[in-house]
């Protein structure tokens, strides 16, 4: 004879069932909020805003190397403001990110010369149109020498802050086309 057992009400009494239900509903409420649909929308909006902000507006970068010492030490995290030059062009003294083949790896340099200017470096001192440029951010200086060049209409002359490196070359200073400048460093 088969006897179907009824659920034993004494094992899980209404009080325990109520407690269990409360815990579940509280956990659900903590994770999904009072209104799960609204929470999902919030999460989607936040994700979208984050992707747009950190993908196209404020791109995070980690510095590597010594060419920007003492302003930027190797390994420091910072942000590139990619909309900084929508309204105006880079100014002298701005620290900019310069793209190579794409935006994954960038050079970080300071704008020293503006379009149309003549730039030269003699014994580590930068000269703009024949006049010495005051650069309080430069602490280390060696006998860098760069023959005078005229910066093109669509170019900027950039250089690293660390002029004390024993070796310097093609990736440490030079003219850069304006369309390669991704944006200005925020801090």
């Amino acid at each position: 004879m088969l006897v179907r057992l009824k659920p034993d009400a004494t094992r899980t009494g209404p009080a325990e069932a109520g407690l269990y239900g409360n815990i579940v509903s509280n956990v659900r409420r903590i994770i999904f909020g009072a209104n799960p649909r609204r929470t999902t929308v919030r999460i989607l909006v936040l994700t979208g805003v984050s992707v747009i902000t950190f993908g196209w507006i404020l791109t995070p970068v980690r510095t590597d190397g010594t060419s920007m010492l003492p302003t930027y030490a190797s390994g420091r995290l910072t942000l590139v403001n990619r909309v900084a030059y929508l309204g105006h062009s880079p100014q002298r003294g701005d620290i900019v990110a310069i793209r190579l083949a794409g935006p994954s790896v960038v050079y970080i340099k300071r704008v020293v010369g503006l379009p149309g200017e003549r730039v030269a470096v003699k014994d580590g001192q930068v000269y703009i149109n024949g006049l010495p440029l005051v650069e309080p951010y430069v602490r280390h200086q060696r006998a860098w020498n760069v023959d005078e060049v005229t910066v093109g209409n669509n170019e900027f002359f950039v250089a690293g802050d660390n002029r004390g490196m024993t070796e310097f070359g093609a990736t440490d200073y030079g003219r850069v086309e304006s369309d390669r400048i991704l944006g200005r460093l925020v801090f």
Partner: protein, 170 residues
């Protein structure tokens, strides 16, 4: 409404899969894979002389016979695969100090599918001498250069015909 949404979602998914499959089998993917395979060979170091020669021979397979390599200001262009292989074998002790990584590989295949213009960034990461691991982030560990590459299809295989270092800063 839900059924319509599901249908649209399924169509989008199918289209995405199709485009991903076509990219995966296309020349762009083949070229990227070929360049990454070359980098793997460059990064594989061997301590003995015979190994260096074998490695140089492997590297040579990625280049055409008449390849031209221009590494920028201050260095003369290298012409011919044999010269390049000899250089690769000779420079082994020096190149074993770093690893190369490619990023931002932009490929433009010509309409006849026989040649391609590629623009890429090569990261050069120095290793610490003792462990062979990449140097700590506080050390001057990385350099990056942009390269313009022309590849040609030779006997169905993509090979580098010209490699030129681009002066990002002129």
């Amino acid at each position: 409404m839900t059924l319509r949404f599901l249908r649209a979602f399924a169509v989008c998914l199918a289209l995405s899969l199709l485009s991903a499959c076509s990219w995966w089998q296309g020349d762009k993917a083949l070229i990227s894979a070929r360049l990454n395979a070359l980098v793997e060979q460059v990064n594989a170091h061997s301590p003995d002389g015979l190994g260096s020669l074998a490695r140089a021979a492997q590297i040579g397979k990625f280049f055409t016979d008449d390849v031209i390599v221009e590494l920028g200001r201050g260095s003369a262009p290298v012409t011919g695969r044999d010269t390049l292989m000899a250089m690769a074998a000779r420079l082994e002790p020096r190149t074993s100090g770093f690893t190369v990584k490619l990023t931002d590989i932009n490929v433009l295949v010509t309409p006849n599918d026989q040649s391609a213009d590629i623009n890429l960034t090569a990261e050069i990461i120095r290793k610490t001498p003792a462990s062979g691991e990449p140097a700590a982030s506080s050390a001057p560990s990385m350099d990056a250069r942009e390269f313009a590459v022309i590849m040609r299809k030779v006997d169905g295989e993509w090979k580098i015909a010209r490699l030129t270092a681009v002066d990002t800063l002129k």
